[in-house]
Protein backbone atom coordinates (compact mmCIF):
# COMPACT_ATOMS: atom_id res chain seq x y z
CA UNK A 1 0.00 0.00 0.00
CA UNK A 2 2.77 2.40 0.92
CA UNK A 3 4.76 2.04 -2.31
CA UNK A 4 1.62 2.66 -4.36
CA UNK A 5 0.84 5.79 -2.32
CA UNK A 6 4.40 6.91 -2.78
CA UNK A 7 4.31 6.36 -6.51
CA UNK A 8 0.98 8.18 -6.71
CA UNK A 9 2.49 11.11 -4.88
CA UNK A 10 5.55 11.01 -7.14
CA UNK A 11 3.29 10.99 -10.19
CA UNK A 12 1.38 14.01 -8.88
CA UNK A 13 4.56 15.93 -8.23
CA UNK A 14 5.85 14.98 -11.67
CA UNK A 15 2.63 16.20 -13.29
CA UNK A 16 2.98 19.47 -11.43
CA UNK A 17 6.58 20.18 -12.41
CA UNK A 18 6.78 18.89 -15.98
CA UNK A 19 5.57 22.15 -17.56
CA UNK A 20 8.84 23.69 -16.45
CA UNK A 21 10.89 20.70 -17.59
CA UNK A 22 9.41 19.76 -20.93
CA UNK A 23 9.79 21.60 -24.20
CA UNK A 24 6.65 23.20 -25.60
CA UNK A 25 5.82 20.49 -28.10
CA UNK A 26 6.42 17.81 -25.50
CA UNK A 27 3.96 19.51 -23.21
CA UNK A 28 1.36 19.57 -26.02
CA UNK A 29 2.01 15.92 -26.64
CA UNK A 30 1.64 15.15 -22.95
CA UNK A 31 -1.68 17.01 -22.89
CA UNK A 32 -2.82 14.89 -25.81
CA UNK A 33 -1.71 11.73 -24.04
CA UNK A 34 -3.58 12.66 -20.89
CA UNK A 35 -6.80 13.28 -22.82
CA UNK A 36 -6.47 9.90 -24.54
CA UNK A 37 -5.66 8.42 -21.15
CA UNK A 38 -8.86 9.78 -19.66
CA UNK A 39 -10.78 8.23 -22.54
CA UNK A 40 -9.14 4.84 -22.03
CA UNK A 41 -9.69 5.05 -18.28
CA UNK A 42 -13.39 5.63 -18.73
CA UNK A 43 -13.54 2.59 -21.00
CA UNK A 44 -11.84 0.54 -18.29
CA UNK A 45 -14.77 1.23 -15.95
CA UNK A 46 -17.09 -0.82 -18.13
CA UNK A 47 -14.54 -3.12 -19.72
CA UNK A 48 -12.20 -3.89 -16.84
CA UNK A 49 -14.56 -3.63 -13.90
CA UNK A 50 -17.84 -4.80 -15.32
CA UNK A 51 -16.71 -7.04 -18.15
CA UNK A 52 -18.72 -5.20 -20.79
CA UNK A 53 -16.73 -4.77 -24.00
CA UNK A 54 -18.05 -1.71 -25.78
CA UNK A 55 -17.16 -1.25 -29.41
CA UNK A 56 -18.71 2.17 -29.53
CA UNK A 57 -17.06 4.11 -26.75
CA UNK A 58 -15.60 6.69 -29.14
CA UNK A 59 -19.13 7.95 -29.74
CA UNK A 60 -19.23 9.47 -26.26
CA UNK A 61 -15.83 11.03 -26.66
CA UNK A 62 -17.14 12.48 -29.91
CA UNK A 63 -20.38 13.73 -28.37
CA UNK A 64 -18.35 15.49 -25.70
CA UNK A 65 -16.09 17.02 -28.33
CA UNK A 66 -18.97 18.29 -30.44
CA UNK A 67 -20.94 19.67 -27.50
CA UNK A 68 -17.86 21.44 -26.21
CA UNK A 69 -16.93 22.79 -29.64
CA UNK A 70 -20.41 24.16 -30.26
CA UNK A 71 -20.68 25.76 -26.82
CA UNK A 72 -17.30 27.43 -27.19
CA UNK A 73 -17.82 28.53 -30.76
CA UNK A 74 -21.40 29.76 -30.63
CA UNK A 75 -21.89 30.84 -27.04
CA UNK A 76 -18.31 31.71 -26.09
CA UNK A 77 -18.80 30.36 -22.59
CA UNK A 78 -15.87 29.62 -20.26
CA UNK A 79 -14.21 26.26 -20.80
CA UNK A 80 -15.70 24.55 -17.72
CA UNK A 81 -19.19 25.21 -19.07
CA UNK A 82 -18.18 23.43 -22.27
CA UNK A 83 -16.74 20.56 -20.27
CA UNK A 84 -19.95 20.22 -18.36
CA UNK A 85 -21.98 20.33 -21.56
CA UNK A 86 -19.81 17.66 -23.15
CA UNK A 87 -19.99 15.32 -20.18
CA UNK A 88 -23.73 15.79 -19.77
CA UNK A 89 -24.58 15.28 -23.43
CA UNK A 90 -22.50 12.11 -23.55
CA UNK A 91 -24.15 10.83 -20.37
CA UNK A 92 -27.63 11.72 -21.57
CA UNK A 93 -27.23 9.89 -24.87
CA UNK A 94 -25.73 6.91 -23.06
CA UNK A 95 -28.96 6.39 -21.11
CA UNK A 96 -31.13 5.11 -23.97
CA UNK A 97 -28.19 3.42 -25.71
CA UNK A 98 -27.24 1.65 -22.50
CA UNK A 99 -30.81 0.69 -21.83
CA UNK A 100 -31.05 -1.15 -25.14
CA UNK A 101 -27.51 -2.47 -25.27
CA UNK A 102 -27.53 -4.02 -21.80
CA UNK A 103 -30.30 -6.32 -22.96
CA UNK A 104 -27.55 -8.32 -24.62
CA UNK A 105 -24.26 -9.60 -23.25
CA UNK A 106 -20.84 -10.49 -24.58
CA UNK A 107 -20.15 -9.99 -28.23
CA UNK A 108 -23.77 -9.04 -28.88
CA UNK A 109 -23.46 -6.20 -26.41
CA UNK A 110 -20.32 -5.11 -28.25
CA UNK A 111 -22.13 -5.16 -31.58
CA UNK A 112 -25.12 -3.24 -30.26
CA UNK A 113 -22.87 -0.52 -28.88
CA UNK A 114 -21.12 -0.49 -32.25
CA UNK A 115 -24.42 -0.12 -34.07
CA UNK A 116 -25.49 2.81 -31.93
CA UNK A 117 -22.07 4.43 -32.22
CA UNK A 118 -22.15 4.16 -35.99
CA UNK A 119 -25.57 5.71 -35.93
CA UNK A 120 -24.27 8.65 -33.86
CA UNK A 121 -21.27 8.90 -36.17
CA UNK A 122 -23.59 9.13 -39.12
CA UNK A 123 -25.61 11.87 -37.45
CA UNK A 124 -22.41 13.85 -36.86
CA UNK A 125 -21.39 13.16 -40.44
CA UNK A 126 -24.66 14.09 -42.06
CA UNK A 127 -25.94 16.96 -39.95
CA UNK A 128 -23.77 19.41 -41.87
CA UNK A 129 -25.50 22.57 -40.65
CA UNK A 130 -24.70 21.79 -37.04
CA UNK A 131 -21.55 19.70 -37.18
CA UNK A 132 -19.90 20.73 -40.42
CA UNK A 133 -20.25 17.19 -41.75
CA UNK A 134 -17.05 15.39 -42.67
CA UNK A 135 -15.02 18.60 -42.36
CA UNK A 136 -16.00 18.97 -38.73
CA UNK A 137 -15.90 22.16 -36.71
CA UNK A 138 -12.61 24.01 -36.81
CA UNK A 139 -11.43 27.09 -34.96
CA UNK A 140 -12.73 26.15 -31.53
CA UNK A 141 -11.33 28.78 -29.12
CA UNK A 142 -9.79 28.26 -25.70
CA UNK A 143 -11.90 30.56 -23.56
CA UNK A 144 -10.81 31.50 -20.01
CA UNK A 145 -11.41 29.40 -16.91
CA UNK A 146 -14.22 31.80 -15.97
CA UNK A 147 -15.11 35.29 -17.06
CA UNK A 148 -12.42 37.62 -15.87
CA UNK A 149 -10.48 34.59 -14.73
CA UNK A 150 -7.16 33.19 -15.89
CA UNK A 151 -6.68 32.58 -19.59
CA UNK A 152 -6.27 29.01 -20.79
CA UNK A 153 -4.77 29.98 -24.12
CA UNK A 154 -1.19 29.08 -23.23
CA UNK A 155 -0.20 25.47 -23.57
CA UNK A 156 0.89 25.44 -19.95
CA UNK A 157 -2.43 26.70 -18.63
CA UNK A 158 -4.40 24.24 -20.69
CA UNK A 159 -2.10 21.45 -19.64
CA UNK A 160 -2.91 22.16 -16.01
CA UNK A 161 -6.62 22.15 -16.73
CA UNK A 162 -6.32 18.77 -18.46
CA UNK A 163 -4.04 17.32 -15.80
CA UNK A 164 -6.42 18.48 -13.07
CA UNK A 165 -9.40 16.94 -14.84
CA UNK A 166 -7.58 13.65 -15.38
CA UNK A 167 -6.32 13.40 -11.81
CA UNK A 168 -9.70 14.31 -10.41
CA UNK A 169 -11.43 11.80 -12.67
CA UNK A 170 -8.98 9.14 -11.65
CA UNK A 171 -9.78 9.75 -7.99
CA UNK A 172 -13.51 9.73 -8.62
CA UNK A 173 -13.28 6.53 -10.67
CA UNK A 174 -11.17 4.91 -7.98
CA UNK A 175 -13.72 5.83 -5.37
CA UNK A 176 -16.48 4.44 -7.59
CA UNK A 177 -14.81 1.08 -8.12
CA UNK A 178 -14.17 0.76 -4.39
CA UNK A 179 -17.69 1.71 -3.37
CA UNK A 180 -20.41 -0.85 -2.74
CA UNK A 181 -21.58 -0.14 -6.29
CA UNK A 182 -18.13 -0.73 -7.75
CA UNK A 183 -17.79 -3.98 -5.81
CA UNK A 184 -21.08 -5.12 -7.24
CA UNK A 185 -19.80 -4.36 -10.74
CA UNK A 186 -16.84 -6.62 -10.23
CA UNK A 187 -19.12 -9.40 -9.07
CA UNK A 188 -21.14 -8.96 -12.26
CA UNK A 189 -17.94 -9.21 -14.28
CA UNK A 190 -17.00 -12.40 -12.50
CA UNK A 191 -20.30 -14.24 -12.68
CA UNK A 192 -23.46 -12.59 -13.83
CA UNK A 193 -25.72 -15.56 -13.16
CA UNK A 194 -24.49 -15.90 -9.61
CA UNK A 195 -25.03 -12.21 -9.14
CA UNK A 196 -28.64 -12.55 -10.25
CA UNK A 197 -29.26 -15.44 -7.90
CA UNK A 198 -27.86 -13.40 -5.02
CA UNK A 199 -30.72 -11.00 -5.24
CA UNK A 200 -30.12 -8.21 -7.74
CA UNK A 201 -30.81 -7.66 -11.40
CA UNK A 202 -27.47 -6.76 -12.98
CA UNK A 203 -28.96 -4.59 -15.69
CA UNK A 204 -29.46 -1.38 -13.69
CA UNK A 205 -25.87 -1.67 -12.47
CA UNK A 206 -24.63 -2.07 -16.02
CA UNK A 207 -26.71 0.83 -17.21
CA UNK A 208 -25.43 3.16 -14.49
CA UNK A 209 -21.78 2.31 -15.07
CA UNK A 210 -22.27 2.60 -18.82
CA UNK A 211 -23.55 6.13 -18.31
CA UNK A 212 -20.73 7.01 -15.89
CA UNK A 213 -18.16 5.77 -18.39
CA UNK A 214 -19.83 7.82 -21.10
CA UNK A 215 -19.70 10.92 -18.90
CA UNK A 216 -15.95 10.60 -18.43
CA UNK A 217 -15.42 9.82 -22.10
CA UNK A 218 -17.50 12.92 -22.85
CA UNK A 219 -15.32 14.95 -20.52
CA UNK A 220 -12.22 13.74 -22.38
CA UNK A 221 -13.83 14.72 -25.68
CA UNK A 222 -14.85 18.09 -24.28
CA UNK A 223 -11.21 18.75 -23.35
CA UNK A 224 -10.06 17.58 -26.75
CA UNK A 225 -12.12 20.08 -28.78
CA UNK A 226 -10.61 23.29 -27.38
CA UNK A 227 -7.19 21.70 -27.05
CA UNK A 228 -6.94 20.67 -30.69
CA UNK A 229 -9.25 23.43 -31.83
CA UNK A 230 -11.68 21.23 -33.70
CA UNK A 231 -14.13 18.35 -33.61
CA UNK A 232 -14.65 16.01 -36.54
CA UNK A 233 -16.44 12.71 -37.14
CA UNK A 234 -13.18 10.73 -37.01
CA UNK A 235 -13.21 10.99 -33.21
CA UNK A 236 -16.52 9.08 -33.21
CA UNK A 237 -15.46 6.39 -35.64
CA UNK A 238 -15.38 2.77 -34.50
CA UNK A 239 -11.66 2.57 -35.25
CA UNK A 240 -11.08 4.95 -32.35
CA UNK A 241 -13.25 2.73 -30.14
CA UNK A 242 -11.07 -0.21 -31.13
CA UNK A 243 -7.93 1.74 -30.33
CA UNK A 244 -9.40 2.52 -26.93
CA UNK A 245 -9.73 -1.21 -26.26
CA UNK A 246 -6.11 -1.69 -27.30
CA UNK A 247 -5.00 1.08 -24.93
CA UNK A 248 -6.81 -0.57 -22.03
CA UNK A 249 -5.27 -3.97 -22.73
CA UNK A 250 -1.78 -2.56 -23.20
CA UNK A 251 -1.90 -0.63 -19.96
CA UNK A 252 -3.63 -3.22 -17.83
CA UNK A 253 -7.32 -4.03 -17.75
CA UNK A 254 -9.12 -3.29 -14.50
CA UNK A 255 -6.47 -1.00 -13.04
CA UNK A 256 -7.73 2.48 -14.06
CA UNK A 257 -4.26 3.95 -14.05
CA UNK A 258 -3.04 1.26 -16.43
CA UNK A 259 -5.23 2.37 -19.33
CA UNK A 260 -3.94 5.92 -18.91
CA UNK A 261 -0.42 4.59 -19.35
CA UNK A 262 -1.60 2.30 -22.13
CA UNK A 263 -3.03 5.24 -24.03
CA UNK A 264 0.25 7.08 -23.61
CA UNK A 265 2.24 4.12 -24.84
CA UNK A 266 -0.09 3.58 -27.80
CA UNK A 267 0.15 7.17 -29.01
CA UNK A 268 3.85 7.47 -28.28
CA UNK A 269 4.62 4.41 -30.39
CA UNK A 270 2.67 5.94 -33.22
CA UNK A 271 4.14 9.39 -32.67
CA UNK A 272 7.73 8.25 -32.64
CA UNK A 273 7.59 5.56 -35.30
CA UNK A 274 5.49 7.49 -37.77
CA UNK A 275 8.22 10.10 -38.04
CA UNK A 276 10.47 7.41 -39.46
CA UNK A 277 8.21 5.17 -41.48
CA UNK A 278 4.67 5.22 -42.76
CA UNK A 279 4.60 1.52 -42.01
CA UNK A 280 4.55 2.21 -38.28
CA UNK A 281 1.35 0.22 -37.99
CA UNK A 282 3.34 -3.00 -38.38
CA UNK A 283 5.34 -2.12 -35.30
CA UNK A 284 2.33 -1.00 -33.30
CA UNK A 285 0.72 -4.31 -34.22
CA UNK A 286 3.75 -6.33 -33.21
CA UNK A 287 4.16 -4.55 -29.87
CA UNK A 288 0.48 -5.03 -29.19
CA UNK A 289 0.48 -8.71 -30.10
CA UNK A 290 3.52 -9.31 -27.91
CA UNK A 291 1.88 -7.55 -24.96
CA UNK A 292 -1.32 -9.56 -25.38
CA UNK A 293 0.55 -12.85 -25.51
CA UNK A 294 3.28 -12.27 -22.96
CA UNK A 295 1.95 -9.60 -20.58
CA UNK A 296 -1.67 -10.56 -19.95
CA UNK A 297 -1.97 -7.93 -17.21
CA UNK A 298 -0.67 -5.18 -19.43
CA UNK A 299 1.98 -2.80 -18.16
CA UNK A 300 0.48 -2.12 -14.75
CA UNK A 301 -0.84 -5.63 -14.10
CA UNK A 302 2.57 -7.09 -14.90
CA UNK A 303 4.39 -4.52 -12.80
CA UNK A 304 2.12 -5.26 -9.86
CA UNK A 305 2.66 -8.99 -10.20
CA UNK A 306 6.41 -8.53 -10.30
CA UNK A 307 6.19 -6.16 -7.35
CA UNK A 308 4.15 -8.67 -5.37
CA UNK A 309 6.71 -11.36 -6.10
CA UNK A 310 9.87 -9.50 -5.37
Amino acid sequence: MIPSRLSALAALVALAVVPWVLARHQLSLLTDLLIAGLFAMSLDLIMGYTGMVSFGHAAYFGLGAYASALVLLHFAQPVPVALLAGALLAGAVAVPVGWFSTRATGIYFAMLTLAFAQFLYTVAYKWRDLTGGSDGIAGVPKTPLFWGGPSLASSRAFYFLVAACVVLSLFVCRAVVRSPFGRALQAIRENERRFTSLGRDPRPFKLVVFVIAAVFAGLAGALFAPFRGFASPEVMFWVFSGQGLMMVIMGGIGTLVGPVLGAMLFILIQEVLSSYTEHWMIFTGVVFVLIVIFLPGGLVGTARRLGARG
Binding site: P180, E190, S197, D201
Partner: protein
Protein backbone atom coordinates in the same frame (compact mmCIF):
# COMPACT_ATOMS: atom_id res chain seq x y z
CA UNK B 1 -45.26 -11.45 5.96
CA UNK B 2 -48.80 -12.75 6.04
CA UNK B 3 -49.68 -13.28 9.66
CA UNK B 4 -53.35 -13.65 8.74
CA UNK B 5 -52.71 -17.09 7.36
CA UNK B 6 -50.91 -18.31 10.42
CA UNK B 7 -54.10 -18.44 12.40
CA UNK B 8 -55.33 -21.18 10.10
CA UNK B 9 -52.61 -23.53 11.19
CA UNK B 10 -49.01 -23.91 10.10
CA UNK B 11 -48.36 -22.26 6.74
CA UNK B 12 -45.69 -24.07 4.75
CA UNK B 13 -42.64 -21.84 4.19
CA UNK B 14 -42.58 -22.97 0.59
CA UNK B 15 -45.33 -24.48 -1.41
CA UNK B 16 -45.53 -25.40 -5.08
CA UNK B 17 -48.84 -26.10 -6.73
CA UNK B 18 -48.90 -28.10 -9.92
CA UNK B 19 -45.56 -26.64 -10.94
CA UNK B 20 -44.44 -27.53 -14.45
CA UNK B 21 -41.88 -26.54 -17.02
CA UNK B 22 -41.62 -27.72 -20.60
CA UNK B 23 -38.69 -27.24 -22.96
CA UNK B 24 -40.39 -27.65 -26.31
CA UNK B 25 -41.77 -31.17 -26.29
CA UNK B 26 -39.78 -32.17 -23.23
CA UNK B 27 -41.69 -31.93 -19.96
CA UNK B 28 -38.81 -31.42 -17.52
CA UNK B 29 -41.04 -30.83 -14.51
CA UNK B 30 -44.72 -31.71 -14.46
CA UNK B 31 -47.38 -31.01 -11.88
CA UNK B 32 -45.12 -30.94 -8.87
CA UNK B 33 -46.88 -29.97 -5.63
CA UNK B 34 -44.68 -29.72 -2.57
CA UNK B 35 -45.07 -28.20 0.85
CA UNK B 36 -41.99 -27.54 2.96
CA UNK B 37 -42.53 -26.53 6.57
CA UNK B 38 -40.35 -23.98 8.40
CA UNK B 39 -37.14 -25.45 9.80
CA UNK B 40 -37.61 -28.60 7.78
CA UNK B 41 -34.68 -30.19 5.95
CA UNK B 42 -36.10 -31.61 2.77
CA UNK B 43 -34.20 -33.67 0.22
CA UNK B 44 -35.25 -33.99 -3.38
CA UNK B 45 -33.90 -37.08 -5.05
CA UNK B 46 -34.35 -38.80 -8.36
CA UNK B 47 -32.38 -40.35 -11.17
CA UNK B 48 -30.38 -38.26 -13.60
CA UNK B 49 -32.61 -36.08 -15.70
CA UNK B 50 -35.50 -36.35 -13.28
CA UNK B 51 -35.89 -32.58 -13.25
CA UNK B 52 -34.35 -31.76 -9.88
CA UNK B 53 -32.20 -28.87 -11.04
CA UNK B 54 -35.04 -27.52 -13.16
CA UNK B 55 -37.25 -27.64 -10.08
CA UNK B 56 -34.64 -25.58 -8.23
CA UNK B 57 -34.52 -23.07 -11.07
CA UNK B 58 -38.31 -22.79 -10.87
CA UNK B 59 -38.31 -22.27 -7.11
CA UNK B 60 -35.42 -19.77 -7.16
CA UNK B 61 -36.88 -17.99 -10.17
CA UNK B 62 -34.08 -18.50 -12.68
CA UNK B 63 -36.63 -20.18 -14.92
CA UNK B 64 -40.26 -19.22 -15.35
CA UNK B 65 -42.70 -22.11 -15.04
CA UNK B 66 -44.98 -23.08 -17.89
CA UNK B 67 -47.60 -24.25 -15.40
CA UNK B 68 -48.46 -23.91 -11.71
CA UNK B 69 -47.48 -21.60 -8.90
CA UNK B 70 -44.77 -21.06 -6.31
CA UNK B 71 -45.85 -19.78 -2.89
CA UNK B 72 -43.39 -18.48 -0.36
CA UNK B 73 -44.64 -17.79 3.15
CA UNK B 74 -48.10 -18.08 1.66
CA UNK B 75 -47.52 -15.38 -1.00
CA UNK B 76 -47.66 -16.21 -4.68
CA UNK B 77 -44.16 -15.37 -5.97
CA UNK B 78 -44.56 -17.05 -9.35
CA UNK B 79 -44.36 -13.75 -11.18
CA UNK B 80 -41.23 -12.57 -9.34
CA UNK B 81 -37.83 -12.89 -10.99
CA UNK B 82 -34.90 -14.55 -9.26
CA UNK B 83 -33.45 -11.39 -7.66
CA UNK B 84 -36.76 -10.49 -6.05
CA UNK B 85 -37.27 -13.98 -4.65
CA UNK B 86 -33.78 -13.90 -3.24
CA UNK B 87 -34.53 -10.64 -1.48
CA UNK B 88 -37.61 -12.23 0.04
CA UNK B 89 -35.45 -14.93 1.55
CA UNK B 90 -34.72 -17.71 -0.93
CA UNK B 91 -30.99 -18.27 -1.44
CA UNK B 92 -29.40 -21.05 -3.35
CA UNK B 93 -26.25 -22.80 -4.52
CA UNK B 94 -25.58 -24.35 -7.91
CA UNK B 95 -24.83 -27.86 -9.03
CA UNK B 96 -21.82 -26.60 -10.99
CA UNK B 97 -19.87 -24.42 -8.58
CA UNK B 98 -20.85 -20.83 -9.19
CA UNK B 99 -18.67 -18.30 -7.42
CA UNK B 100 -16.82 -15.08 -8.31
CA UNK B 101 -13.50 -16.68 -9.20
CA UNK B 102 -11.18 -13.66 -9.33
CA UNK B 103 -12.48 -12.06 -6.13
CA UNK B 104 -11.27 -12.96 -2.65
CA UNK B 105 -13.13 -15.52 -0.59
CA UNK B 106 -14.21 -12.80 1.81
CA UNK B 107 -15.40 -10.57 -1.03
CA UNK B 108 -17.45 -13.43 -2.48
CA UNK B 109 -19.40 -13.70 0.73
CA UNK B 110 -19.43 -9.98 1.41
CA UNK B 111 -21.00 -9.28 -1.97
CA UNK B 112 -23.69 -11.83 -1.17
CA UNK B 113 -24.48 -9.91 2.01
CA UNK B 114 -24.30 -6.52 0.33
CA UNK B 115 -26.64 -7.54 -2.43
CA UNK B 116 -29.11 -8.72 0.20
CA UNK B 117 -28.99 -5.75 2.55
CA UNK B 118 -29.09 -3.12 -0.17
CA UNK B 119 -27.62 0.33 -0.71
CA UNK B 120 -25.97 -1.09 -3.78
CA UNK B 121 -26.07 2.13 -5.74
CA UNK B 122 -23.86 4.05 -3.38
CA UNK B 123 -21.30 5.26 -5.90
CA UNK B 124 -18.91 7.01 -3.57
CA UNK B 125 -17.90 6.19 -0.05
CA UNK B 126 -20.28 3.64 1.46
CA UNK B 127 -17.81 2.65 4.12
CA UNK B 128 -20.58 1.77 6.54
CA UNK B 129 -22.19 -0.62 4.08
CA UNK B 130 -18.87 -2.23 3.33
CA UNK B 131 -18.01 -2.68 6.98
CA UNK B 132 -21.40 -4.01 8.00
CA UNK B 133 -21.47 -6.53 5.18
CA UNK B 134 -17.90 -7.56 5.87
CA UNK B 135 -18.78 -8.31 9.47
CA UNK B 136 -21.60 -10.59 8.47
CA UNK B 137 -19.46 -12.21 5.81
CA UNK B 138 -16.77 -13.05 8.33
CA UNK B 139 -19.37 -14.61 10.61
CA UNK B 140 -20.58 -16.77 7.79
CA UNK B 141 -17.05 -17.81 6.81
CA UNK B 142 -16.35 -18.74 10.43
CA UNK B 143 -19.49 -20.85 10.49
CA UNK B 144 -18.32 -22.73 7.40
CA UNK B 145 -14.73 -22.99 8.64
CA UNK B 146 -13.32 -20.89 5.84
CA UNK B 147 -12.23 -17.90 7.91
CA UNK B 148 -8.54 -18.66 7.58
CA UNK B 149 -8.76 -18.51 3.78
CA UNK B 150 -10.66 -15.22 3.64
CA UNK B 151 -8.02 -13.33 1.70
CA UNK B 152 -7.30 -15.94 -0.95
CA UNK B 153 -8.71 -15.72 -4.44
CA UNK B 154 -11.77 -17.90 -4.70
CA UNK B 155 -10.44 -19.58 -7.84
CA UNK B 156 -7.42 -20.85 -5.91
CA UNK B 157 -9.50 -22.78 -3.34
CA UNK B 158 -9.70 -26.54 -3.66
CA UNK B 159 -12.96 -27.85 -5.06
CA UNK B 160 -14.35 -28.88 -1.69
CA UNK B 161 -13.76 -25.45 -0.23
CA UNK B 162 -15.35 -23.82 -3.25
CA UNK B 163 -18.49 -25.86 -2.58
CA UNK B 164 -18.41 -24.68 1.01
CA UNK B 165 -17.82 -21.12 -0.11
CA UNK B 166 -20.98 -21.28 -2.13
CA UNK B 167 -22.91 -22.40 0.92
CA UNK B 168 -21.25 -19.62 2.91
CA UNK B 169 -22.45 -17.07 0.35
CA UNK B 170 -25.99 -18.34 0.52
CA UNK B 171 -25.99 -18.67 4.29
CA UNK B 172 -24.57 -15.18 4.76
CA UNK B 173 -27.68 -13.80 3.16
CA UNK B 174 -29.56 -15.12 6.20
CA UNK B 175 -32.31 -16.54 4.03
CA UNK B 176 -35.42 -18.26 5.33
CA UNK B 177 -35.07 -20.95 2.71
CA UNK B 178 -31.80 -22.34 1.44
CA UNK B 179 -31.67 -24.40 -1.74
CA UNK B 180 -28.59 -26.62 -1.98
CA UNK B 181 -27.99 -28.21 -5.37
CA UNK B 182 -25.79 -31.27 -4.83
CA UNK B 183 -23.49 -29.73 -2.22
CA UNK B 184 -21.27 -32.83 -2.01
CA UNK B 185 -20.86 -33.35 -5.73
CA UNK B 186 -17.34 -34.38 -6.62
CA UNK B 187 -16.16 -34.46 -2.99
CA UNK B 188 -14.04 -37.12 -1.36
CA UNK B 189 -15.73 -39.23 1.36
CA UNK B 190 -13.96 -37.24 4.09
CA UNK B 191 -14.99 -33.90 2.59
CA UNK B 192 -18.50 -35.21 2.17
CA UNK B 193 -18.73 -36.10 5.82
CA UNK B 194 -17.38 -32.71 6.81
CA UNK B 195 -19.85 -30.95 4.52
CA UNK B 196 -22.75 -32.90 5.96
CA UNK B 197 -21.70 -31.84 9.43
CA UNK B 198 -21.41 -28.23 8.34
CA UNK B 199 -24.84 -28.22 6.71
CA UNK B 200 -26.40 -29.61 9.84
CA UNK B 201 -24.67 -27.00 11.94
CA UNK B 202 -25.71 -24.16 9.63
CA UNK B 203 -29.29 -25.33 9.66
CA UNK B 204 -29.33 -25.44 13.42
CA UNK B 205 -27.51 -22.21 14.17
CA UNK B 206 -29.28 -20.14 11.54
CA UNK B 207 -32.68 -21.82 12.00
CA UNK B 208 -32.87 -22.42 8.27
CA UNK B 209 -35.26 -24.32 6.14
CA UNK B 210 -33.27 -26.27 3.59
CA UNK B 211 -34.16 -28.06 0.39
CA UNK B 212 -31.39 -30.27 -0.83
CA UNK B 213 -30.87 -32.02 -4.13
CA UNK B 214 -28.46 -34.87 -3.65
CA UNK B 215 -27.27 -38.02 -5.34
CA UNK B 216 -25.46 -39.48 -2.40
CA UNK B 217 -28.13 -41.52 -0.59
CA UNK B 218 -26.09 -41.73 2.58
CA UNK B 219 -26.07 -37.98 2.79
CA UNK B 220 -29.78 -37.81 2.07
CA UNK B 221 -30.79 -40.39 4.63
CA UNK B 222 -28.42 -38.87 7.14
CA UNK B 223 -29.62 -35.28 6.80
CA UNK B 224 -33.16 -35.11 5.54
CA UNK B 225 -36.31 -34.90 7.65
CA UNK B 226 -38.42 -35.73 4.66
CA UNK B 227 -37.60 -36.85 1.14
CA UNK B 228 -39.37 -36.11 -2.15
CA UNK B 229 -38.68 -38.33 -5.14
CA UNK B 230 -38.84 -37.01 -8.69
CA UNK B 231 -39.02 -39.23 -11.71
CA UNK B 232 -39.36 -37.95 -15.25
CA UNK B 233 -40.37 -34.62 -13.85
CA UNK B 234 -43.12 -35.98 -11.65
CA UNK B 235 -43.30 -36.38 -7.95
CA UNK B 236 -43.68 -40.12 -7.34
CA UNK B 237 -43.18 -40.35 -3.61
CA UNK B 238 -42.73 -38.31 -0.48
CA UNK B 239 -42.01 -39.30 3.09
CA UNK B 240 -39.43 -39.97 5.75
CA UNK B 241 -36.25 -41.84 5.06
CA UNK B 242 -37.72 -45.09 6.20
CA UNK B 243 -40.87 -44.68 4.10
CA UNK B 244 -38.87 -43.86 0.98
CA UNK B 245 -36.52 -46.78 1.53
CA UNK B 246 -39.52 -49.08 1.61
CA UNK B 247 -41.30 -47.56 -1.36
CA UNK B 248 -41.51 -50.03 -4.24
CA UNK B 249 -42.09 -47.41 -6.89
CA UNK B 250 -39.00 -45.52 -5.86
CA UNK B 251 -36.92 -48.64 -6.07
CA UNK B 252 -38.30 -49.36 -9.49
CA UNK B 253 -37.58 -45.83 -10.67
CA UNK B 254 -34.03 -45.98 -9.43
CA UNK B 255 -33.34 -49.40 -10.83
CA UNK B 256 -34.93 -48.47 -14.12
CA UNK B 257 -33.46 -44.99 -14.17
CA UNK B 258 -29.90 -45.93 -13.48
CA UNK B 259 -28.26 -48.29 -15.89
Amino acid sequence: MTPLLETRGPTPLLETRGLGRAFGALQAVAGVSLAVQPMELRAVIGPNGAGKTTLFHLISGLLAPTAGHVLFRGDDVTALAAPARCRRGISRTFQITSIFPELSVLENVRIAVQLKIGDNFRLLGGRAVLEASEQRARDSLRLLGLDDRADELASTLPHGDQRLLEIAMAAAQEPALLLLDEPTQGLSPEDTAATVAVIRQVARERKLTIILVEHDMDVVFDLADRISVLHFGQLIAEGTAAEIRANAEVQKAYLGGLD
